[in-house]
Symmetry: C2
């Protein structure tokens, strides 16, 4: 290995006027930004061996040791030979993207929860930085953000619900974060865009890679009105492990994860698992038990204590600080007849709808004595619930009542 | 009031060969059976005043005091004047029904839980007896029984699910108890009958009354293959309060209540409330959040700790003694690649599907050093997951693999 990244370790990189990265690499941050960009190329997201080997070292120290072929870092030598953080920053800039690192105003500090989550699982770890495309401020956009994820091969029910809930959440000022995939993800992004809200696509590939292909127009629109984010440097293709690593970011940068439709074995359940590990609430939207696509949502509720979510208010309640934004469970307002004393209810229940009945017949039907029945009928008449006719009592028809009860 | 029921209080009623009730009124039980039949006519189900006035008295004592016009029982005098338990027992017998009371072999002692539930709510109380139509033995049929209830105006999804789950539960030897109403109830009964299982309709009217009218053929079939049960004497019409009182019986005589579809204000939620008070598990079947008919089910899960139920096994688990009949949560069996060590997974992830790549390219894609990559590829080849070609490595196509993984 001959390439030693002299510029990166020796200099600030200023003076490279052609590169676009200086616009975001603020002064003293340049060295660290280059080191982090290099590491984001060399170290695969969620590389357990890296988490262990680099423990306690700062990015600049890691990068420096990699440049000097530290023998214990031999594992990463192959990729290091091809890494060129200057070029990556230039490629990103050419694609309208920037590389956001800790210390930047935009850096979403919430993602550092993955440092703790790393204790719990093999694939955690805070990203070295985030490649970000779009005009919005990343940190600001994530102040109130919820992940909406689910199956690629979703049903039309799932697609509808994803778009509707996302639009409703966006209407309430929440940023919709998803994975840019077909199905539930795409519907979530579209719902947020339709509501003129902010949406963020977190990718498992480079910020300049259109994957999946058929979503490239959507991704362009997201980059225009919202943000496209990834920890992978430009040009990277998605892989199975990168999808899994990407899911941890979606869970970490949001205040909660909503699973709309998910098969029992799915990326959405993986994201839900990350949300659990990050201490974020997981919400699951139910669906028909006849649909395999809802099996994952139901499993989350049954086995993993996810909150069953049926509307926007319930999602907002779950991701809000405890005791705020509480929902009022849907409950019909009690009708007047619900509040009647038992004897009045029973008398009313015994009064015929149409053909009037005398008091004694009503008493028998109600199972009450005559004086009680008589008294009850008088009270009910006062409430205009029953009407006396020459041949007895019958219920007051709605049009005879003074108002709706 | 002149009618004093001389026969009922003085004699056994034996010798009245024409009446059918003797066939079930075993010897000494006759007097008590007559008293209880009379009380079932005089006292409306769930009459709070009756529960209070009769507290601590045996049915024979209550009946005797009513006959003798005890001044504190004046409230029930109107109905008493029309009561004729002999005639009611005869009418029941003519309709192929019997009157089952405590002490009978058939008496389902579980219903006495309502004695305790009476402490909690206004409308409880153990019925004086149960009017039963059908050949099956009531107690035996209720040994393993589950209530399946829901909306009258259900969706086709609800109707389908009600029939399917009920058939599946019946296949597992469970008796399906429901209310004989349109919609979910009717589908539950039909599902059980279709599976040649036992089903019980608990009515809010006389055992000889066909209500609702359009279900009369269904009720006849239930009476033939299962049982029709009510606490109301023959000829009684259903009323709103009788439906509510009936719901407590459905909850009390079953080991759990399954709500399929229910509006937020519905009889099914009332039944669920009774099940809660009786200490029986409540299960709710989810549905689309876009359907108002599933709102009640979702409310039960969110607000009232109901168990989300998506299949027969989950229902059986919930109503079985703790720790028995446990379900295995639906989970795909891990594939071989799930169990690979991290480096093997990453190597495999980096091997192209079709166009072979040399080891060094795979090492870069995987982010691993050459020796590790080489070793990993050898292991993966041994597992027949990758294939070596003259130009490098590619994934083994499924048809090349020796078996399915």
């Amino acid at each position: 290995m001959t390439h030693t990244y002299a510029l990166a370790t020796e200099g600030s990189g200023s003076g490279r006027g052609a590169g676009g990265y200086e616009s975001v690499a603020g002064g003293n941050g340049d060295e660290e930004r280059l080191a982090r960009a290099g590491l984001s190329r060399v170290v695969e997201p969620g590389d357990v061996a890296a988490l262990k080997a680099f423990e306690g070292l700062l990015p600049l120290e890691i990068w420096d040791r990699l440049q000097h072929n530290a023998p214990d870092l031999e594992r990463w030598s192959t990729r290091l030979a091809t890494a060129d953080p200057h070029r990556d920053l230039e490629r990103a800039a050419a694609a309208g993207a920037r590389f956001v690192i800790p210390g930047d105003d935009e850096w979403p500090a919430d993602v550092e929860v993955l440092d703790e989550a790393g204790q719990l699982s093999r694939r955690a770890g805070v990203p070295f930085g985030l490649w970000v495309r779009g005009r919005a401020d990343l940190r600001h956009a994530l102040t109130r953000a919820v992940a909406v994820v689910g199956a690629r091969a979703c049903s039309s029910y799932g697609e509808h619900v994803s778009a509707e809930l996302s639009a409703g959440l966006a209407d309430n000022g929440l940023t919709i974060v998803s994975g840019g995939a077909y199905g539930i993800d795409a519907a979530a992004h579209r719902g947020a865009l339709a509501a003129a809200g902010t949406t963020i696509a977190v990718l498992a590939c480079g910020v300049d890679v259109s994957y999946p292909k058929r979503n490239s127009a959507l991704l362009s629109r997201i980059a225009e009105d919202g943000l496209v984010v990834t920890e992978l440097p430009p040009g990277c293709a998605p892989t199975k492990l990168r999808f899994l690593a990407r899911n941890r970011l979606i869970a970490a940068i949001t205040q909660g994860t909503v699973v709309i439709e998910a098969a029992v074995r799915s990326g959405a359940l993986n994201t839900a698992g990350w949300a659990e590990q990050c201490g974020r609430p997981v919400l699951a939207v139910p669906g028909p038990i006849t649909s395999r696509m809802s099996a994952g949502s139901h499993l989350l509720v049954r086995e993993r204590n996810a909150v069953l979510a049926t509307n926007v208010a319930e999602i907002i309640e779950a991701i809000s600080p405890f005791g705020t934004n509480l929902t009022q469970p849907a409950r019909a307002t009690p009708t007047l007849t619900d509040t009647l004393a038992p004897d009045l209810q029973r008398t009313l229940d015994a009064v015929p709808v149409r053909n009037p009945a005398p008091t004694d017949r009503i008493a028998i039907a109600a199972g009450l004595d005559l004086p009680t029945t008589h008294q009850s009928l008088q009270t009910l008449a006062g409430l205009t619930l029953v009407t006396q006719t020459p041949t007895g009592w019958r219920l007051t028809t709605p049009e005879q009542q003074p108002g709706t009860w």
